[in-house]
């Protein structure tokens, strides 16, 4: 068995182990102050540090288990419903980018504009090509969400910054929800 194969098998548990070791010294900004406050098992950093210790322990066990299973040439079976192989490709990368961009734009251009743009982009990404269909779904969807959450649930959704904030308010007025 090559050392590369071993490394691949051990990368995940080693990552968790390294993370646990790294985080143990970064639980609080001032470990000295936390130590002064600690009495026995009770202290501000005690619980996370206890958890990190347990994570480190199970990471080592995991690594041992992987090595044993790898030597036996059996694929380790994971949890029930989660054990689904999911693809990562260009379309998926773009989808993830769209979702993250939507989250970012919410605070910048506001919920109405960001949602409208996101719905258009997502429909296009999903293969919908008819402009009327995409426009209707995006427009009506945004309006329904606005009525549901801004009007009925009275949620103070992000309106955006500067001119976009004013645009959102104008739109709310137009729709009779402000």
């Amino acid at each position: 068995m090559s050392s590369g194969a071993y490394l691949r098998e051990l990368s995940a548990p080693a990552g968790f182990l390294a993370g646990a070791i790294f985080l143990r010294s970064h639980v609080v900004e001032s470990p000295e102050m936390a130590n002064q406050m600690t009495r026995g098992l009770v202290g501000p950093a005690s619980w996370p540090q206890l958890l990190l210790l347990v994570i480190a322990f199970f990471s080592v066990l995991w690594a041992v288990e992987r090595v044993v299973l790898f030597k036996k040439q059996t694929t380790p079976r994971l949890a029930t419903s989660d054990a689904l192989a999911t693809p990562i490709n260009l379309q998926m990368g773009v989808a993830i980018l769209f979702i993250l961009l939507y989250g970012y734009l919410l605070a910048v251009i506001g919920f109405p504009a960001a949602t409208l743009l996101y719905l258009v982009a997502w429909c296009a990404l999903g293969g919908m090509r008819r402009a009327i269909q995409v426009s209707l779904i995006s427009l009506l969807g945004t309006v329904v969400f606005l009525y549901l959450f801004v009007k009925l649930a009275a949620m103070p959704l992000e309106r955006g910054q500067g001119v976009m904030g004013e645009f959102s308010i104008a739109l709310y007025r137009l729709l009779g929800i402000y």
Partner: protein, 505 residues
């Protein structure tokens, strides 16, 4: 007989047109709020509290009770149809219910969940009626170590959920508990694991993690499968379960109800612990235990019965001791106090009419929940006819609004989306996400009870084992671990012995 007569009297008051209408209104509000991700029934109860000022104490309790019962089931509607648990207690419902939806059995899953919820809720309301005072005495003996033991039992049930990979599941579970500990420490007020980021100071809310890991991940997976041409049939076939099928599920429903009633009485444990423990137990007991996670009906029915069974049981410490065991019962306590009613042992003597009307209304609410549930679920089920691309886009918007609505904070949206992407990567690398979510939900509770136990009992960790009730629960937890792991250990030992026998031969 006296209790029975009082209950009949309460039933008549509850059936008065105005009171009955108020209860139905509460049921509808609760079911819709529970079904909408991010607007939990607790939020709905809090928002509804001012409306109860103008009501009588009986009307107020019936309204809030209706929201409570409807909301607990409502959370399962979105869990079954779009894999977003409307409430944390609906988490196990996602595992089986959504798998059934993917098979085109959404209507059956909804009906099973609804009937199991109604059964659990009615049994719980009857328990509340007939056994409140003696059970309140037991609840009174509970202290922090017992609360920790109950939470610990909920956490270790993950062993049964993922016993094929217990080590990786433990890494996932403890990572979840660690994520739950991010933010300002509850005892000392010191920020932990925040790395100086203000957005992490308030901690990471479990609802946000849950929405990200389940909903966003699901949308990405839906898109991926569509691209590969293996998308599932998403239509709702309106085939309801037959009486024979229902009868076959009586045992899981009864077990779930019993677990829910017992756990519901423990203040702080609540519906989530009840549902998760019921799911874990059912997976252990069921002959199809290995198939859990693929849409097994028993795995849907047991936690559904359990989470509804906690509703009446959680009101036992509220009404008899004045101790609210959950956020929902705390709001009910507030409503009682606002109307000049003080819960406690004397309540049964001074306000017996109110008490028994509340009991009767809980029974009625669970009966009529079937009606409200069917109506709301039908509305939601139309979602399933929407093309997957559009459905996915709407789920992302709902998730974003749901995450934002938790604390009206945009940082929660970022965290939710980050967990969505993380969840997709976890699926890609076959790392289990369910234990992580359970850890995030129950971790903060476990920490609070563990730390206060240590502070109150001289830093003595043996306190969890030496006190009779907590020791009993811990022993049960240990037995549960053994029970869950034993088949795997025996299988391994057998293979080792066989190998050695072969080599010696």
């Amino acid at each position: 007989m006296d209790i029975f007569t009082s209950l009949i009297g309460g039933l008549f008051i509850a059936l008065e047109p105005l009171n009955f209408a108020i209860m139905l209104g509460g049921l509808a509000v609760g079911t819709i709020a529970g079904a909408l991700p991010g607007i939990s029934f607790v939020n709905a109860m809090a928002m509804a509290l001012p409306f109860t000022y103008s009501m009588t104490p009986i009307g107020a309790m019936m309204f809030l009770g209706g929201i409570y019962c409807g909301g607990v089931f409502g959370g399962s509607i979105s869990a079954i149809l779009i894999n977003i648990p409307g409430t944390p207690a609906s988490l196990p419902t996602c595992w089986e219910g959504y798998s059934m939806t993917k098979r085109g059995e959404a209507a059956k899953a909804l009906m099973l969940a609804l009937l199991a919820s109604a059964l659990g809720g009615i049994a719980s309301a009857l328990l509340l009626t007939f056994a409140a005072p003696p059970f309140a005495d037991v609840a009174l003996t509970f202290d922090q170590p017992e609360f920790f033991a109950a939470t610990f039992l909920g956490l270790i049930s993950v062993i049964a959920i993922a016993k094929e990979s217990p080590v990786i599941s433990m890494v996932s579970l403890f990572s979840g508990i660690l994520i739950g500990s991010v933010g300002v420490d509850p005892l000392y007020g010191m920020p932990r694991l925040t790395f100086g980021l203000p957005m992490l100071q308030n901690g990471i809310d479990f609802v946000v993690v849950m929405i990200g890991l389940f909903a966003i991940t699901e949308v990405l997976e839906m898109l991926g499968k569509r691209a590969h041409g293996d998308g599932e049939a998403r239509g709702v076939r309106m085939r309801l379960p037959s009486l024979k099928q229902l009868w076959a599920l009586r045992a899981p429903a009864m077990r779930g109800t019993t677990i829910g009633c017992l756990i519901g009485m423990v203040p702080g444990a609540g519906a989530t612990v009840g549902a998760v423990v019921a799911y874990g137990m059912e997976k252990q007991i069921s002959q199809n235990g290995d198939s859990f996670g693929t849409g097994v009906e028993a795995g849907l029915v047991a936690p559904e019965a359990a989470n509804s069974a906690t509703t009446g049981a959680a009101m036992i410490p509220l009404l008899t001791l004045g101790i609210p065991g959950s956020a929902a019962t705390a709001i009910m306590l507030a409503a009682l106090v606002l109307h000049g009613v003080t819960p406690g042992p004397m309540l049964f003597a001074t306000q017996s009419e109110l008490v028994y009307t509340v009991f009767a209304s809980m029974i009625l609410a669970n009966l009529f929940m079937v009606l409200a549930g069917v109506m709301v679920a039908r509305g939601f089920a139309t979602l399933m006819r929407v093309p997957p691309t559009v459905l996915g886009a709407f789920i992302v918007v709902l998730s974003v609004v749901g995450a934002y609505g938790v604390r009206n904070n945009i940082a929660d949206v970022y965290i939710c989306l980050a967990f969505g992407v993380l969840g997709y990567l976890m699926k890609h690398f076959s790392f289990p996400s369910a234990p992580l979510v359970l850890g995030v939900i129950l971790g903060p509770l476990a920490e609070r009870y563990f730390m206060t136990s240590m502070a109150n009992y001289d830093n003595d960790p043996t306190i969890f084992l030496t006190r009779p009730i907590s020791g009993g629960i811990m022993a049960f937890a240990a037995l549960f671990i053994l029970w869950a792991l034993m088949p795997g250990v025996v299988k391994r030992l057998k293979s080792i012995v066989l190998r050695q026998l072969k080599s010696t031969a």
